[in-house]
Symmetry: C2
Subunit: 177 residues, 2 copies
């Protein structure tokens, strides 16, 4: 069975949407929700706002109530019949996120055993046939075949095969779909 | 630079010693400290005692104050000049241990960057040239070259190259020692 490893934020979890909602609600900004659909946050926000956002992300609880990306649960469940599914998330960047991320996975993806969850920093450590991730730097570090999950911060990249939704992941990885 | 990945419990941290101290102090037992030097806990303790011990291990704080194994810090620091050092610990087994384990590493091994810390379940996910671990099941799952760090639960195994101390790790991996 081939091994398929999935990134969490902005692949399984709609972290971007939660961040946008926080910016629109709590930050002093003239931007609209629509603005965040086509440009990366680091181009739209002031460096001080980005620092504030990272501080918010490291608060206990932040990663606990993020929405599951559309069609992620159903597709990953189907994929688990054909692939050995692992989750690899760069949790070390936010040391207060560990328990929230673990509980979130248990809650929404209870069919993925704890033995297949990885909290890491640098993704070069991941031994897998495939990695689906929204960060080019993670795919660059990875030794297997990387698939780029579209996000506003990677729209211009052309070096990896790209998927724009979980339906596209299904088309690529599931038989007879 | 070759990558050398290290297990934490009973390789970097003297987890066994802390467990023995708890058993001798808090459990109703006629065993002596010496008994735990040559036989594994699972042969010495009653199944109910083992369950109690696992419950204690999952209490927040348990992994926070474990002693560093003799010569581990100095040897790993020297090794970090010749190898890319990663730490991979099966933290998913004890979901309350995440923050304690992370803080312990920051405290005692501040020269290992957070990007090189991995909390995992099954160690088949680790992409590394070498893995030093005290569990045969972890080395069996690992795809690189496994080195067995001696512990009471692995004394009879003959399938891996064995090291009995950090001095022996230094002899094996450091030049001109």
């Amino acid at each position: 069975m081939l091994r398929l490893t999935l990134d969490m934020d902005d692949v399984m979890a709609d972290t971007h949407e939660k961040l946008v909602d926080i910016v629109l609600k709590d930050f002093n900004t003239t931007l609209f929700k629509k603005d965040f659909e086509s440009a990366p946050m680091r181009e739209l926000l002031h460096p001080k706002q980005l620092t504030r956002l990272r501080r918010i992300m490291n608060e206990p609880g932040f990663f606990g109530d993020i929405q599951v990306k559309k069609d992620a649960r159903e597709t990953i469940y189907k994929l688990s019949h054909y692939y050995e599914i692992y989750v690899a998330t760069a949790a070390m960047e936010f040391p207060n996120s560990f328990k929230d991320k673990f509980d979130w996975l248990q809650k929404h993806f209870d069919f993925i055993p704890w033995s297949n969850i990885v909290f890491c920093g640098h993704k070069s450590i991941i031994h897998s046939d495939y990695l689906i991730d929204d960060h080019v730097r993670n795919l660059d570090a990875f030794k297997g075949e990387g698939i780029l999950f579209s996000a506003t911060h990677n729209l211009r990249d052309k070096s990896y095969r790209r998927v724009g939704s979980w339906n596209e992941v299904a088309e690529l990885f599931l038989p007879n779909k």
